[in-house]
Symmetry: C2
Subunit: 229 residues, 2 copies
Amino acid sequence: MDISNYRHDDRILLAVDCIIFGFDGKELRALIIKRGFEPEAGKWSLMGGFVNEGESVDRAASRVLYELTGLTNIYMEQLYCFGDVSRDTAGRVVSIAYYALINIADYSEQLQRDHEAKWYSLHEIPSLIFDHTEMLHKAQLRLREKVANQPIGFELLAEKFTLPQLQNLYEAIYQGPIDKRNFTRKILSLGILKKLAEKEKTSSRKGAFYYVFERDKYSQLEHEGMKFI
Amino acid sequence: MDISNYRHDDRILLAVDCIIFGFDGKELRALIIKRGFEPEAGKWSLMGGFVNEGESVDRAASRVLYELTGLTNIYMEQLYCFGDVSRDTAGRVVSIAYYALINIADYSEQLQRDHEAKWYSLHEIPSLIFDHTEMLHKAQLRLREKVANQPIGFELLAEKFTLPQLQNLYEAIYQGPIDKRNFTRKILSLGILKKLAEKEKTSSRKGAFYYVFERDKYSQLEHEGMKFI
DNA sequence: CCAAAAGTGTTTCTATTACACCCATGT
DNA sequence: ACATGGGTGTAATAGAAACACTTTTGG
């Protein structure tokens, strides 16, 4: 490659930061780590890392997510590029933020200990370094918009889930109660959930039927114009 | 500043590219330039430039827009970060794309000649270098979403505009006809347009009343939840 | 007087909201 | 038998879509 035509001596580092969302059945949480290096070592931070020369920015984000969680094939979306001059106190670092949705149960406690990571409820997030609080806030807004129009909420649940679980998730994301009957009707009317014969029995005596999200049914439909809530 | 803790020798250049939209009264257009340097000199391209060490990414985008158009205080929004390894054939350049909305009449013909720039109708865009076609496409989608929920369409029109002009704009953005009565009712019901006594008389014998967008009225309202179409 | 674009209401339909009782089961 | 959470239908309301004629005026 020849970049000789690009005369540009400025040194800007490029990083990615990941907002990782999980759902514990009642609350929406984000995975926050204790930063392990200076500056700001020991403070709460999003998981991040530098983009390497031979890897795409998307790839870097996936790698950073993998380093923290050991997970691959995770729903992940680019959020925004944060490019203020002094956002990182140690140098000129431009960061591309991504948010990921994972099933909280898939995250191993071992890794959690290794990285001094913690799932914080979105209401109890401590103060984060740099502009990470802003990133998290923006991710929350994006998630709220996105989840209304695309079937990404399922990414936060297990393969099998019950309608009450799904409703709890939406209530957590929207931070408000949703009418059970209206919710059930709407979500089932989309025709993308398959009801299983099996019931979830731990959270009630009656038990709630499990459902699975049928990705292929969804793909057949127009991706546009589908309202999930 | 001390970046010694950030051991990172990779050389990634950071650029911005601008999708500049204008509206000619009938069609939505984008401002495309003949690239003046290698690689790909002489080919059609978006206007772009590198981010300098002492300037924010947003600032770089505004500067690049200014260099091409001489305009400041323009509506501009970050679109997406394009970070594939080989997107630029001459080196590793990550680009943050922005889109801007300008009143096409504010763009001087002199500058247009200086930069070998051209307003292309979105249906007649030539093949662009690198991933610029993808950028433009993404900007179009974003504009469509955005214009439905925020009052940014006005940025593409003159200070004073008529309802038929505004409707033409929305029809161009959505690429389909809109019912005149429904459109008028909806847009006026928002209470953010002020009708002037003056009429625009060039495009019809009867003449159409001018309106102005009242920014302050809009600011008073909730920015969220307002549907424009 | 006529061509051309502006302006204006009503009805239909669809989607959203509000709302309360019975069901199944483990203890 | 009862406490707990799961499941279900209908009526009222609001928002979106469909639709056609009259007005103005320069030529």
